[in-house]
Every structure is written in C-alpha cells, then in structure tokens.
C-alpha cells in the first residue's frame, strides 16, 4: 500500500520496499521494514531530503524469489520508484538484482550477505546498480574463525549450520576456510534446516566428537533451541555465531544461563552507550514495543545511507544517486562508520559480543 | 449342440479369504454359445467365482482356461481382452460420463489409434473416433438407450442403468458375457422384458452367457443349463427341470414350492 511515512503530498522521493511481509521469513522482512519506516519518518520530520519527503511504497514478496522479481518490476514500472530497498535474505535479493540492473534503478539491500548480490562472480562483473549496508559473509566468517583460534585457543571445531539458508552456508564456508588455514581442525560439518526444532540427534553426535568450540551460524530462532538443547545435554564448550543470533528473543528461547560462554560477531552492540545507538534503540522501542534485532538496525542504516547519498547527489536522478551511493565514505550509522569499497560492499568494523547472564557484553572490535 | 467348443473351463478352482473357503474346488465347463445360470444361496460364492473368472481375485488354487488359454494370474483388463466381459452386482457405471461415453470406453481396447495419433490429431484419430462413436450408438439403439446417449449415466433411473451396464459389457465384444444379478431391483414386468433381451442378445451376437440370478422365473426361463453353488461348492448342475426337482437344491436354495 502507498503509506506515506511523512504525510507530505508534495514532491516526494519514492522508495520501493520489496520485503518479506508474509511467508517463511516474514519475521526478517517486517523487522527491517519497521526500522526503515522509523528512519523515514525521522528524516521526514527533520524536513526530508533536499526538501522532499520520503515516501515508502511497500510490496510483499511473500518470501519467494519469483515474487521478489515481480515486486521489483512492479515497483519500478508501476509505482515509478526512485530507489529500491530490499529484500532481507540473499536469495530474495538476488532475484531482484537483475531487475534493478536492467532497469537502471539504484537498489540497496540492507542485509543480504551473499557476495553475488553486488558482484556477479560468474560473469566477473560488478552489479552496477546494487549496493548493500552490511558486511559480507567472508568477513564475518573469518572474524569468528580467527577469534576461535586466537582468543579461545581452539584446536578443533564443529560447524552446525542451516542448510536451507544462504546466509548460514556462507558463514559456514568462510569460517571453515579461515579456521583450517589457521591450523585448526574441523571435526564435522553438520546441518539443520530452517524451522527445525529438535537438534538432539546431531548434538549428541557433536558431543561425542568433543570439539573445542562449536560454530553455529544461523538465525536466533533455531540457534536459541540449539544452544538450550546443547547445554541441557551437557555440552559446555564455547558456542559462536554471527549477527543472525542478534535478537532479544534469543535469551527468551535459550535462557540466560545456557547462553553463557557464547560469542557472536555483530554490527553493533545494542547496549553500546553511544548516543546514536541509544537514540535508535529507544526510538524503535517506543514505536514498536520491541528491542530491535540486527535486521532492524541494518535497515535503519540502509535508509540513512540512501538519504545521505541523495543529499550528496543533490537530486533524485537515478544515475547521480547511484554515483553518490558508490562514493559513500565514512558514513556514520548506528552500526559504525561505513565506507563502500569498489564492489559496493561496506568496509566497517565488526564487534564481537559475549553473552553474560542474558546480556550482550562487548568483547572485542575487529577492523576489516 | 454338437460340434461345439469348450469356451470356459474351470478346473478345481478355490479361493480362500482368511479362514473362509468362499469357493472350493469348483469345476465348470461351458461350451460356446450356451446360456448358463449360476444360482445358490446368498454367500455361496457366486460373485466370488465371477471375480475369479475376471481376474479381480486370483485363485488360491486351480486353473481357469478361456478358449483353451490359461487366464491364471492375468489382470482383469487382459482377461477382458481375451473375451470375457461382465456386469456387477452393485452397479458400477462411469457415473459422471455420458451414456455414450460409457459404451465407448468398452470399445477402447479395440481402438487402433494410439495416444500419439490422438495428440497430433493424425487422420487415424478421426477415423478411429468416428468408428467408435458409430458402433457405440448402434449398441445403444439395441438397448433402446440411444435417446439418452448424452445423459449423465448416474442420472438414469435404476433399470436403465442396469441395461446400460449390459450394453457396455457387450460393447467390449466378449465371447463370454457374465451377468451378476441383472434383474435385481426390477419388478416382475421389467424382469420379463430383461429375460427376452438376454435371449435375444445371445442369438443376435452369438455369444455365451453365464448369469447369476435369484429370480427363478428368469433363471428357469432362459437358462439352458444351471450350476448350483452352495458353501463354495457345486452341489448340482443340469437342466432347469433337473435343478427344480433336485432335493439338495430345494433344501439349500429353493425352498419347498417353486
């Protein structure tokens, strides 16, 4: 629907939001969309961009790749949007990438981590019109591999990833590469599928292998259960994951005690006293009565990144906005200071957080 | 009735359900062109014997030969192709198809145009279909159903459904026609009409008919020979006259006066 986040009916900047509002990963889509709307309304309240209000045109891709293609086409040809945002998952984003390229409309994905989103590895070619606001799989996976080798002194590890999630498989792959390169040994690579609930079989197996650490790059819903079940059966070794863990529900599902001795790589720490972070977290809480997860914070930054680019471009001309996006440098977002590299991928620091009695505690910051 | 050939030879056939021997060591020989009745108390195993003859069940023992060929272990459609078609005790029409289509299905196995021919609408298709339609309409005429050829079969009154079932079985061009209680649910007048029809079919198509029936008027009226089944065994066989007076049959089946 054409909901106008600022309430302006004059000249507006149209942002087409292609998100998973229903279907399997609606939780991600809605979370990110919430934050985007929050950001837009803040921008509009502050007078908009170049004096124009931002209008968000939402469209549901039902968590399906084909739908995502269609939604992107619709937003561009029917709604004549200036910029595309979305989707949250890599597959649904990849499905829209070609449309943006063909139609020459800038597109920003806040959370798709697959390298191919911005750089088509098969054709060896940059996807000129596509940008992102998150770091990509290789970085996150590598960070945690090095962390387990150096900080946790792990010699052996087991990886337990979500075979149905591109994100999870990406982290899996790069963790493995980096861990083995650093001299560690991967004892087993196990997998589950999104929406699984019982992990006892594999965990019993992992327990019998007795690894030093367990890497579980997945999303909080399954991860929460994995950590809980692992601790219940007496697996006490450190467990680690990525930003997919970052959601307030994780503690509710796994329980505070079970989460002790677990570590994640993330974009930021919601408990960071930094006023920028606090302002965002408070505003989000006030509007949606929930603590923002990583999908949300990335969406929020994505929106501001677009606003920043338009400002620098001085117009909403698509080619100019594209150039401006590509030139994003030292943009200060909630998740840190971000510069896009030649592949349109952000170069920014990751933080490593440790869970202590249900709280995320800052452990380390890793520069790329 | 000399120089006739043995059409159906049932040799020591049995069928067991769990502990129940529904058909046990049945022997039955039917010559080409005969009109034979099969009677017996309820649960005697008549329908089961039909099911064995048509391949719905496999015999637990014994052999069945049709025109000298063994039909043991064949699927029902294969037996139909070898020349035995039937009707069912509980009517089994293709309810949502038209009367004409019901008959055309029975003619299917004589069709010469292949699926391929039909998909590409090669000339063979049109010729074949037209021929089938013609033949089917002819059959319907015989049974006085041609006026209803485009009706949906399940909407026909009961009596006409029975007639349609017989027409359909005949359209398969069998050598042996098996009728399971064709007169069930008909009033005496309708039964008389059916009796005439059966006789006429046999003469017109020169086929062999084996029928199960509880209506003694019909059985005694049209059958040349009768087998009596009780508890899965043949307890008597012979001409209607012989059967009518056979004390075993009277005791097991007919009751005192008939």
């Amino acid at each position: 629907s054409k909901s106008t986040s600022g309430g302006s009916n004059g000249d507006t900047i149209k942002i087409g939001a292609n998100f998973e509002m229903t279907g399997g990963v609606a939780a991600f889509g809605q979370s990110q969309l919430n934050a985007i709307e929050l950001a837009a309304s803040e921008i509009n309240a502050a007078g908009g961009v170049l004096g124009k209000q931002i209008e968000i045109i939402k469209s549901d891709n039902a968590s399906k790749a084909e739908e995502s293609t269609r939604v992107a086409t619709k937003l561009i040809t029917q709604d004549k949007v200036d910029i595309l945002m979305g989707a949250t998952t890599s597959t649904n984003t990849l499905a829209a990438v070609q449309v943006a390229n063909d139609k020459k409309v800038p597109m920003v994905s806040a959370s798709a981590t697959n390298p191919n989103v911005t750089f088509d590895s098969k054709k060896g070619k940059l996807n000129e019109w596509v940008f992102r606001a998150c770091f990509i799989d290789p970085f996150q996976g590598t960070v945690m591999a090095n962390f387990s080798l150096k900080k946790l002194n792990a010699k052996t590890a087991v990886i337990f990833s979500d075979n149905a999630a591109d994100y999870s498989k990406g982290l899996h792959k790069f963790y493995k590469e980096a861990f083995e390169k650093g001299g560690g040994k991967i004892l087993a690579e196990e997998s589950y599928q999104t929406k699984d609930t019982d992990f006892n079989a594999v965990l019993t197996r992992i327990k019998s292998l007795n690894p030093d650490v367990i890497y579980v790059p997945g999303y909080y819903e399954e991860v929460g259960k994995i950590v809980k079940q692992a601790r219940e059966m007496g697996i006490t070794v450190p467990m680690m994951g990525g930003d997919g863990w970052d959601a307030p529900q994780l503690v509710e599902i796994a329980g505070a005690a079970a989460l002790n001795n677990t570590f994640i790589s993330n974009h930021y720490s919601p408990d960071d006293p930094d006023p920028k972070v606090k302002k965002f977290v408070d505003a989000y809480k006030a509007k949606y009565n929930a603590v923002p997860d990583s999908m949300a914070v990335l969406g929020y930054d994505g929106m501001y990144m677009i606003a920043d680019a338009i400002k620098r471009a001085g117009s909403v001309d698509k080619a100019k906005v594209k150039e401006a996006l590509a030139a994003t440098k030292d943009f200060v977002g909630v998740t840190g200071t971000l510069t896009l590299d030649q592949n349109h991928d952000p170069v920014k620091a990751a933080v490593i957080l440790e869970h202590k009695d249900g709280k995320q505690v800052f452990y380390d910051k890793v520069q790329p | 009735m000399a120089a006739q050939q043995l059409l159906l030879n049932v040799d020591n056939v049995s069928r067991v359900f769990g502990g129940l021997k529904a058909v046990s060591d049945v022997n039955m020989q039917i010559q080409d062109g005969e009109l034979v009745g099969l009677i017996g108390p309820n649960g005697a195993g008549k329908t089961t014997l039909f099911n064995l003859l048509t391949g719905v069940y496999e015999p637990s023992g014994g052999k069945i030969h049709l025109s000298g060929e063994s039909v043991g272990g064949l699927r029902p459609y294969q037996i139909t192709k070898r020349g035995a078609a039937r009707t069912f005790q509980n009517i089994r029409l293709f309810g949502d198809m038209t009367v004409l289509e019901n008959v055309m299905v029975a003619y299917h196995m004589h069709a010469r145009h292949s699926l391929f021919t039909s998909i590409f609408r090669l000339p063979g298709h049109f010729k074949g279909e037209a021929e089938m339609r013609e033949k089917a309409v002819e059959f319907l005429k015989i049974f006085n159903l041609d006026g209803k050829k485009d009706e949906i079969a399940k909407n026909l009154p009961y009596g006409e459904q029975r007639r349609l079932e017989i027409a359909r079985a005949l359209a398969a061009r069998p050598k042996l026609l098996l009728l399971d209680e064709p007169a069930a649910g008909m009033n005496p007048q309708e039964t008389v009409d059916l009796m005439n029809l059966i006789r006429w079919i046999r003469d017109e198509f020169k086929i062999t008919i084996l029928l199960i029936e509880h209506d003694m008027g019909l059985v005694m009226g049209v059958c040349e020979r009768i087998y009596v089944l009780d508890h899965g065994q043949i307890i008597a066989s012979g001409t209607p006259e012989e059967i009518r007076t056979n004390p075993h049959v009277i005791e097991a089946y007919l009751g005192q006066e008939v």
Partner: protein
C-alpha cells in the same frame, strides 16, 4: 558406541512422541470424516500461543494445558461449523482445499495480530536431567511427553472403540445417512470429533512449546506435515498407528542425523514412508481392505 546408540534412541523416541501426539488428533479426525485437516497444524499453533499467554499470565503447566485444550476445542468446532459443514457431501478434495484455506487464514491472522517474530516461551516446567547409565541421559519433559502420548492414545482408542459415542463416530465415518437412520446426531458427532481432535492439537502445542521454547505463527507447518506423515505411516485413521508412525518417524530421523547424514534427514524420512507404503499400501497398521466387488 552402545551408549551413543541408546542415547540417540531416546532422542528419537522423544521427538517421535511429539509427532505422535499431534498425529493422534490428525488421525482421529481423518478416521471419522476422511478429511486431511491441514489446519490441524495451525490449531496446534493456536494451542501453543494460548499456552504462551497463559504462561505469561503466570499459569502453570496444568492450567495452561487445560486452557489451550479448551480454546482449541472451541476453535476446532467453529472451524468445522463454518468451513467444513457447508461442504458435507462435496468432493473430498474440495474440503481439503478449504482446509488449506483455513490453514493459511490462521497462519496469517497470527502474523497480522501477533507479528511474524518468534517469541520465547516462558519456562513453566523445570527440566530435570536423569542419568540412566554412563553418559545416557533423559529429562523429565521427555518422559512426560511420552507418557502423555501413550495415555492419550489408550484413552482415545477406548473412546472410539468401546464407548457409544465412539461407535457413533465410526458409523458416521462409514455412512452418514445410515447413521442418521440409527438415530445418531451426525452433526453433534462430528463436532465432538473435532473438539477432541483439536483439543489434542492444543495440548500438543503447549507441550511442544515447553519442549522447544518458542512460538510463532508458522510453527505449525512443519510439525503438522511431520504428524501427517506419521499418521499415514501408521495407517491413517488408526489410533495406535499414529503412535507407532510417530515413533518410527522420530527414530528414522534421529538415526539418519546421528549417522552424520543430517542433510538427508527429511529425504530419508519420506523415502522410508514411500517404501513402507509400497509394501503396505495402507500404512503399517492399515488394513488393506479391498473394495468388495
């Protein structure tokens, strides 16, 4: 190695008993009105949510269960009244599509009203871990689930086969019109069936949420499908079949995962299902009653 196998067996039985618990309701409804009630998994989800809110409000396991069962029973009866009853006598595939519609409706009403995000389920049962021998452990919730499932199965079997209502249910399942002529109130009987079946789904929902502590509007899809598979495996419509089917499925899944083929777990489960069906076309316990010709 022996310990490992025993532990995995316990894991398999534990997940299997959950499948069985959901499958019981499935099979029961199917047994009576021959409807694959695809909304069953979503009634299960509603049950879990009722349990969630009850637990949040401070109720314990027992009252959360009772409340969830009651709400689901009412929901089940309502669904039957509004969506399935107008279709009595329609082709079964039509009612199946309606059931799919109801399933989508419940899921998306859930998303609309509660948001798609998973919520953590409060801990209302304290799990105690018992060590059987060596490293082999079992926890109290696993024991409870298995016990509840077996007891409910026996109870259901008793209701369906030994009580008057059960006889009425079976009569309705075979021939509604003839059942009417026996003086059976067909509508009441079917409502009763749905009430029981849905209450079972509700109970399963709460138990599931206690065991795997999160709830979300789509949580019913996979367990619903698995339970359906379990029910078919055992012979759909046959109550003990649901238990056996559930356990077999649980053990197969666990076995495949524990052997290191976790990627192929669901594939193996379906393959076993198909194999069993090929050799026993009506499931493990299904009587292959051929139509009498």
């Amino acid at each position: 190695m022996f310990e490992y196998i025993v532990q995995q067996l316990i894991n398999g039985i534990s997940i299997g008993s959950i499948y069985a618990l959901i499958a019981l309701g499935y099979t029961m409804v199917y047994g009576i009105i021959k409807l694959i009630n695809f909304a069953h998994g979503d009634v299960f989800m509603v049950g879990a949510f009722v349990g969630y809110f009850a637990a949040k409000a401070g109720l314990g396991l027992f009252w959360s269960l009772i409340l969830a069962m009651a709400v689901c029973a009412i929901l089940g009866v309502l669904i039957e009244r509004l969506a399935y009853r107008p279709l009595r006598g329609a082709a079964r595939i039509v009612i199946l599509i309606t059931a799919i519609g109801v399933s989508f409706l419940l899921e998306n009403l859930g998303i609309y009203a509660l948001g798609p995000q998973a919520k953590g389920f409060p801990e209302i049962v304290t799990k105690t871990q018992y060590t059987l021998f060596g490293d082999v452990t079992i926890n109290s919730v696993q024991i409870i689930v298995l016990a509840v499932t077996v007891i409910l199965m026996v109870l259901l079997q008793y209701v369906v086969h030994k009580t008057k209502m059960g006889k009425a249910m079976r009569a309705v399942s075979y021939d509604m019109e003839a059942a009417r002529l026996m003086g059976i109130n067909v509508d009441t009987t079917i409502s009763f069936t749905f009430a029981i079946g849905s209450a079972l789904a509700g109970a399963a929902g709460v138990v599931f949420a206690v065991m795997y502590p999160s709830v979300d509007p789509l949580m019913g899809i996979i367990p619903g499908l698995k339970a359906f598979v379990a029910a078919v495996l055992g012979g759909i419509g046959i109550i003990p079949g649901a238990l056996v089917g559930g356990l077999v499925l649980g053990i197969v899944e666990t076995g495949v995962s524990s052997a290191g083929f976790s990627l192929w777990r669901d594939g193996a489960a379906f393959a076993i299902l198909i194999l069993i069906l090929i050799f026993k076309p009506s499931g493990l316990f299904g009587k292959n009653v051929r139509e009498k010709v």
